[in-house]
Amino acid sequence: MKPFTFLTPTDAHEAVALMAEHGTSARLIAGGQSLLLAMKERTATPSVLVSLSSVTGLSGITTGSSGELSVGTTTTYAVLADAALPGWHAEISRMAGDLADRPVRTMGTIGGAICAADPRFDMPVLVMGTGARLEVLGAAGARTIDPSDFFLAGGGTCLSPDEVLTAIHFPEREHYRAVAFEKFRQRQFDAATASVLCALTQGSDGRIGAARIAVGAVAPSPRLCSATTEAMVSGADPFALDLEEVGVAVAAEVLPETDTGTARYHCELVKALTRRALARALSTLGS
């Protein structure tokens, strides 16, 4: 670690101004669970840290008038895990309570994980899979970004240095009938080796209305499997779906055509996790 200046703005606009002022020598810090590790290894060497911890209005969970769930960027995993959210939002709590270890969950934030954009993390897959909208404040004003645009295909995010992710807006509780996330990691506290999130809506006829499947950890960014889900929902009876077949299609859609041991393993994992996530989502659909 190198010595740095620690700034604690109390207002989001002030944070943006500080970031604009210090440029690339500054980094935003929320829970610090990724950045501090990088700084200790000197792979990140900011001379200024702009902390979001004192900024008012960036933390907490609120339900908007339209029913959408807004989560402040500095909301910690621990708060999310304890939130007792109803409907499919409960899956957000479940995910936040089943990642890393307790010290990380106590300090780490949802916004920090999304901006770190590590594909092995669960939060990028969550927002990609559920189609959450990401609200950003920058020197040029506020904007809302779709996760497909937020995460760059080659890794990283589309944010400019002076932009701050302020909130994550998840679709309302009624939007999905079922959301299920499945991941694999060798050790309890590891980031995922592969992960799959499956979100389903139910049509009036009992069939699948719409579906989203997102895959994490096997590519530089979370991947949305639009082709597979489009084929899957075209009038299909959800309970007659061949889950194995969907898994194969998902793997084919997200994985590169290489034949290394790791690629083959990723393929196997994506198939199995898709099957598990889909089965769990369908069981919710059927209940």
Partner: protein, 846 residues
């Protein structure tokens, strides 16, 4: 001899004999309070007045010619006090590696001088007022390197055109990467193979495992320019090894080097040697006259601390129709990394002791001990035995399958069960006692062996493995196995224990106090263990090789007996009684049968120190006694046989695993361990050692490995990427059993405890994985990825069982069987030891 109590989980029926003393009881560990409250002071917690901070620049490449190191810019950086590189020290400090360890050559230097041999090797160092300034200065060091091709695979090291790693050293076997060879010739393995009903053969590969002690390697060196005393606080397992080698390297008197340990948060063998950082910090302190702090980061420890030696084994096991093991043949490529002080000893001990618990009459082993451009190999919990057992105990299962014998029955027919002890095996081990047969059945019964075999469940399996572990550190190149204890009965009736053997998890403060309390009749709470300090502690070798309870414990017992005799002599004089009529206990000496009367020890000690006129004639004042114990072991014979250990502890393990066919994750869902640790001084401590030993074995079999790319870069040098198991990976261990067969050779009956829990784990889990899936793993570790790919490959081939990744049933024996060069140094007869004659001739005196 005291019979140690069995654990409460074992049968309660046979009432333990009445115990009066503390030995054998689970006295709570004195060490725990400081550890649990965070008040224990480890090396990085120490701060000396005026202390400054050193950091080491390490090579980012694995193999290169070092053209130049320019420290000019670094020296000019803010806060920098001094900087050093190899060129500054060449010819000024003595290389090491050949002093205590008696290695072939002293090839260790503080810095690389003309060549870089592995990623992480020391290139330069700076010392500055703060850590940050030191790290900044490292970035200003200019290094000129010419890259050389890296050698990562140990078998590639044997190729005639392989890159040469250690240049300028003429080894016994030429100038290649083979720096030593090892062989065993016991009986006639070729004949055993010809006459065998079944010979099973397989190539096995083992992984590199880190010591992964949570307390980092590090030291603080403080030189006094006026007294010329160099004080080194170091997180080490052996203060005298550090002191003697450091003094030799610096060429200063040994009594001017004082090595002290802070709390040491484990070592597992990885801190049982001197490291360059200890030399570098000392030189800096001598040059600038200030205390120098040099504590390594985790990445540095992964790269340049010692890791378990990796091996490739071409192993064969020969058996008769009834399952009797008649022979073992093996060709081993033993990877010591780029340099290694202990690494070549690992193959000796691991192979010799690894033949146990079977008395194999015909053994033929050849080994090439090679250098690669990887981290130094060395001592790590088990010292070669887990590697050997991984191969051998899987071969036993393979042979059992071919013979149609149950693996439990196969082992039961072969484990040593002599009619009388001591029993000498064909390999030369003298077994003074063992309960291995009972341990084997206990562990199998506890895991539900018969039931699991009768009703197999899909993707669930059970496996067995047995091993024995030596309790000594006498190696072929290390001809000593001593520890010492000095005791002083203080003038207030308390007792101080002095020992140089570092406790880093072995609970010396508890265990030794139990022995002293029993022997001297002093209250446990009145006994204190002084911190190891080379200026005041009696000379001992240190804490490794599972010697603590048996060797140090015996030294403590002997010192206690001597002090007791002294106390009784004096008390007899004062009480005007015969010493034989006196008893010692309750902090006093009393006439037998009158325990409530007598003289308090503090009165006797006070007289012995302050009223010496009242002492008996010829009585040496003060109540102090010292004892050194060296074990009655043998040197290794030229054929590889020999009794290298004073006694042997036993571990019989049984694993139950469950494999997830979707993800390949192997979970050990149940595990049973039956051990013979002889007389257990403190069952709580020994259980802790067994649990920790198991977890280390679990990491070896299911996750840990040094992952190198082809250029020799270590890709997982952090606890994030290096898959050491954590608490959540540990199954609930409820099936631990002690079946004590007290050592006859060790006066108190103890056997080593620290490493026996590791030996059988990889093999037991490997055998269970085969039982669960039909996949015989031949390479460690069994990661989820390898497990799943193996399952798919097995399905693709449509076979019931197969070996992965080395499916080579046609392999026939060592690739280079009997054309083995004769290791000359092993034959003592070739040496002329009669130096006096030579000198006589030269002087012309005779």
């Amino acid at each position: 001899m005291t019979q140690a109590p069995t654990r409460p989980t074992d049968s309660q029926d046979d009432a333990a004999p009445e115990r009066t003393g503390l030995v054998g009881r689970s006295v709570p560990r004195r060490e725990d309070l400081a550890l649990l409250t965070g008040t224990a002071r480890f090396i990085d917690d120490l701060k000396l007045p005026g202390m400054v901070y050193a950091k080491i620049l390490r090579s980012k490449v694995a193999h290169a010619r070092l053209r130049a190191v320019d420290l000019t810019r670094a020296r000019a950086m803010p806060g920098v006090l001094d900087a050093l590189c190899g060129a500054d020290l060449a010819g000024k400090v003595k290389p090491w590696g050949d002093l205590m360890q008696d290695l072939l050559v002293g090839d260790h230097t503080p810095f690389a001088t003309d060549k870089v041999l592995y990623e992480g090797q020391e290139i330069a160092a700076v010392v500055a007022a703060t850590k940050y300034q030191a790290l900044d200065a490292l970035e200003a060091i200019d290094v000129d390197l010419d890259l050389l091709p890296a050698l990562v695979d140990p078998e590639d090291a044997l190729a005639p055109d392989a890159p040469l790693i250690q240049e300028g050293i003429s080894y016994e076997f030429g100038n290649g990467n083979v720096f030593d060879r090892y062989r065993v010739r016991v009986g006639d393995a070729e004949r055993a193979a010809a006459e065998a009903a079944v010979v099973v053969r397989q190539r096995f590969a083992t992984n590199r495992q880190a010591g992964a002690a949570l307390d980092p390697h590090g030291c603080i060196a403080s030189y006094d320019s006026f007294t010329h005393e160099l004080t080194v606080y170091s997180s080490t397992q052996s203060i005298y090894m550090v002191r003697d080698v450091l003094a030799d390297v610096l060429q200063i008197p040994r009594n001017k080097v004082r090595v002290i340990v802070p709390e040491v948060g484990a070592g597992f063998g990885s801190k049982a040697q001197i490291f360059p950082y200890e030399v570098i910090a000392s030189i800096f302190s001598m040059r600038i006259g200030r205390p120098v702090h040099l504590v390594l980061g985790r990445k540095e420890i992964f790269q340049s601390g010692t890791a378990r030696n990796g091996q490739v084994r071409y192993a064969e096991l020969m058996c008769k129709r009834d399952g009797t093991i008649t022979g073992y043949r093996d060709y081993v490529v033993h990877n010591c990394g780029a340099m290694s002080v202990w690494g070549n000893q690992v193959i000796h001990i691991g192979t010799n002791v690894g033949m146990l618990p079977y008395a194999v009459p015909n053994v033929h082993v050849d080994s090439d001990i090679v250098h690669t451009n990887t981290a130094p190999g060395g001592a790590l919990r088990g010292f070669g035995i887990p590697q050997m057992i991984w191969a051998k105990e899987q071969l036993v299962d393979m042979a059992a399958a071919e013979l149609g014998i149950d693996p439990l029955e196969m082992r039961a027919r072969n484990v040593i069960r002599p009619e009388s002890f001591p029993y000498r095996t064909p390999m030369g081990q003298v077994i003074d006692s063992t309960s291995v047969y009972d341990c084997l059945h206990k562990s199998a019964e506890a895991i539900g062996w018969a039931g699991a075999k009768a009703e197999p469940k899909p993707y669930e399996g059970v496996g067995l493995a047995v091993s024995m572990k030596y309790t000594s550190c006498r190696h072929p190149s290390f001809d000593t196995d001593l520890s010492a204890v000095r005791l002083r009965l203080e003038t207030d009736g308390t007792v101080t224990i002095y020992s140089s053997d570092v406790s880093h998890g072995q609970s010396h403060a508890t265990m030794l106090a139990q022995i002293v309390s029993d022997g001297l009749g002093v209250g446990f709470e009145k006994i204190t263990l002084a911190r190891p300090d080379s200026l005041t502690s009696p000379f001992g070798l240190g804490t490794y090789a599972s010697r603590g309870a048996a060797v140090l414990g015996t030294a403590c017992r002997l010192a206690t007996e001597r002090l007791r005799a002294k106390v009784l002599t004096m008390a007899a004089h004062v009480l005007e009684a015969a010493p034989d009529d006196l008893e010692i206990g309750n902090d006093r000496v009393y006439v037998k049968g009158l325990p409530d009367s007598g003289l308090y020890l503090e009165i006797l000690a006070g007289m012995a120190a302050y009223r010496t006129h009242q002492l008996p004639d010829g009585f040496e004042p003060t109540l102090e006694a010292v004892a050194t114990y060296d074990t009655p072991t043998e040197r290794e014979h030229a054929d590889g046989s020999g009794n290298l250990s004073v006694t042997y502890s036993t571990a019989a393990h049984a694993a139950r695993v469950r494999v997830d066919p979707d993800t390949g994750l192997v979970r050990v869902v149940d595990y049973a361990m039956a051990h013979d640790t002889g007389v257990v001084i403190n069952p709580l401590v020994v259980e802790g050692q067994h649990q920790g030993g198991f977890l280390m074995g679990l990491g070896m079999v299911l996750g840990e490995d040094y992952v190198y790319d082809k250029d020799g870069h270590l890709l997982n040098a952090s606890f994030k990427d290096y898959l050491a198991p954590t608490a959540t990976d540990m199954p609930e261990l409820t099936k631990l059993y002690e079946i004590p067969a007290p050592s006859v050779t060790i006066p108190g009956g103890q056997k080593g405890a620290g490493e026996s829990g590791t030996g059988p784990v990889p093999a037991a889990v490997g055998n269970a994985v085969f039982d669960a899936t039909g996949v015989r793993f031949t390479a460690l570790p069994i990661t989820p990825q390898k497990m799943l790919l193996a399952l798919r490959e097995k399905e693709r081939r449509g076979v019931k069982t197969f070996r992965y990744p080395d499916d080579m049933p046609d392999f026939r024996g060592p690739r280079r069987p009997d054309d083995w060069p004769t290791p000359r140094a092993a034959d003592e007869a070739e040496f002329d030891w009669d130096f006096d004659d030579e000198f006589g001739d030269e002087d012309g005196a005779e």
